[in-house]
Symmetry: C2
Subunit: 246 residues, 2 copies
């Protein structure tokens, strides 16, 4: 893990860009974080549009989390941002967009072809990032995961025991295979669903919530469309992490 | 409205029992409430088991609300507690219990016979109670409604303009007619659903949430059975009222 830039934001949060091999990422730590007072970490789930495009939303979430005493970090998805294109994924994404724009039901084949290889490739990268982040003296634990591309969150919740709580955004297509994996998840979950998100399959999100094996799981459904998560819903998610990571 | 008893609870909350005609009720006001600093009011929705049996849960909610600066009040449902039996309602309730215990689907006829007359009778009583409560100098406004027997909450939200926000518990049977009324509701809503509440029709609760006309509506689904609403869900409901009544 190589830090490539560093700046202090207005509120004292330290923002550091890094590379992990050829994967770019960003780490935000509250001013209070130090080797003698290490802080818990929230992984900010992947940004399907790429880190640059998602930066304003990511930094807002990072600063909100820092105010609660959490470090946050994220890395670029395979095939996103400046990372090398990935022809199979591009094709799957194109097929999916075409189906959505034509108002067709998106077939399981298209969803599988788009999401499953992404999960396979991304999850080990997030685990490597976690290794590197937890090796920093100012980052303690426990670790939470917060984000979209819900299938990556589901897989991480199953395979990565260092993640003790997850806040997931039910706003993306879910392969059928993930419903089975969801049954194996046992950590506390906080699921956000934008009820009138036209690009999202509401019933699939409800079925996935039902499938999770966790004893503590909450579904928060709100109005406002895909990107219109209300401020109070963000506050509730923050409280979830405070309950489980402090 | 006649006060019939008065006591100070440990935390300074003033608990007063009252009668409104022949309807018993209870009013809780925070120690801070006075004519010069009147407080907002939350109506604690009806207690189907009767005020006496529900008292421990009601007073806990009242004290929690008082700590946030709210007065709370509730009245006995028609046919509940010490109020005169109501043979038609008793019969409907018996039919409903029998169907539930036999594991049968509860028919729309049984649900209608149980709930609709209760809504018709109870809602004007709650409105009279509101008249009397708002006439007290230590009770200001605005007014919220929080509670179960969700159909009473729906009707009140439609017909009672003094109620500006409602937290509803989706834990009871809902007549089909209420789905149409739900479309007329426009105030902010916070709906609690116990996901694995076996006595509740989850799909009906989701359909009702979908039907509400409110621009701001949130559904919070949690685990823990009908009476196992987690503490953090209660806190989230309290924050909803703080957002809308302060």
């Amino acid at each position: 893990m190589q830090f490539t830039s560093e700046q202090r934001l207005d509120d004292g949060v330290l923002e550091r860009e890094f590379t992990l091999g050829d994967i770019p990422g960003i780490l935000w730590t509250p001013a209070s974080a130090s080797a003698s007072t290490p802080v818990p970490l929230i992984l900010l789930g992947p940004a399907p549009l790429g880190l640059r495009k998602m930066y304003p939303r990511l930094v807002a979430r990072a600063q909100h989390s820092a105010a609660e005493g959490f470090a946050t970090a994220t890395i670029e998805l395979p095939g996103s941002g400046d990372r090398p294109r990935w022809p199979a994924a591009e094709q799957a994404r194109t097929d999916l967009r075409r189906a959505v724009e034509a108002g067709e039901t998106v077939s399981d084949e298209i969803i599988d072809a788009f999401i499953l290889p992404l999960v396979e490739k991304a999850v080990p990268e997030w685990q490597s990032a976690l290794d590197a982040l937890l090796a920093l003296p100012e980052i303690g634990g426990p670790v939470g995961y917060s984000g979209g591309v819900i299938s990556i969150g589901v897989r991480l919740a199953v395979v990565e025991p260092r993640i003790v709580a997850a806040g997931l955004f039910a706003g993306s297509f879910v392969p059928r295979a993930m419903f089975e994996e969801a049954r194996q998840v046992t950590i506390p979950l906080h699921i956000l669903l934008q009820w009138d998100d036209e690009g999202n399959d509401r019933q699939a999100a409800l079925d996935l919530f039902d499938a999770f094996g966790s004893k503590e799981k909450s579904l928060h459904a709100n109005m406002g469309g895909h990107t219109g998560v209300p401020q109070f819903a963000g506050d509730a998610a923050a409280q979830f992490f405070t309950r489980h990571l402090k």
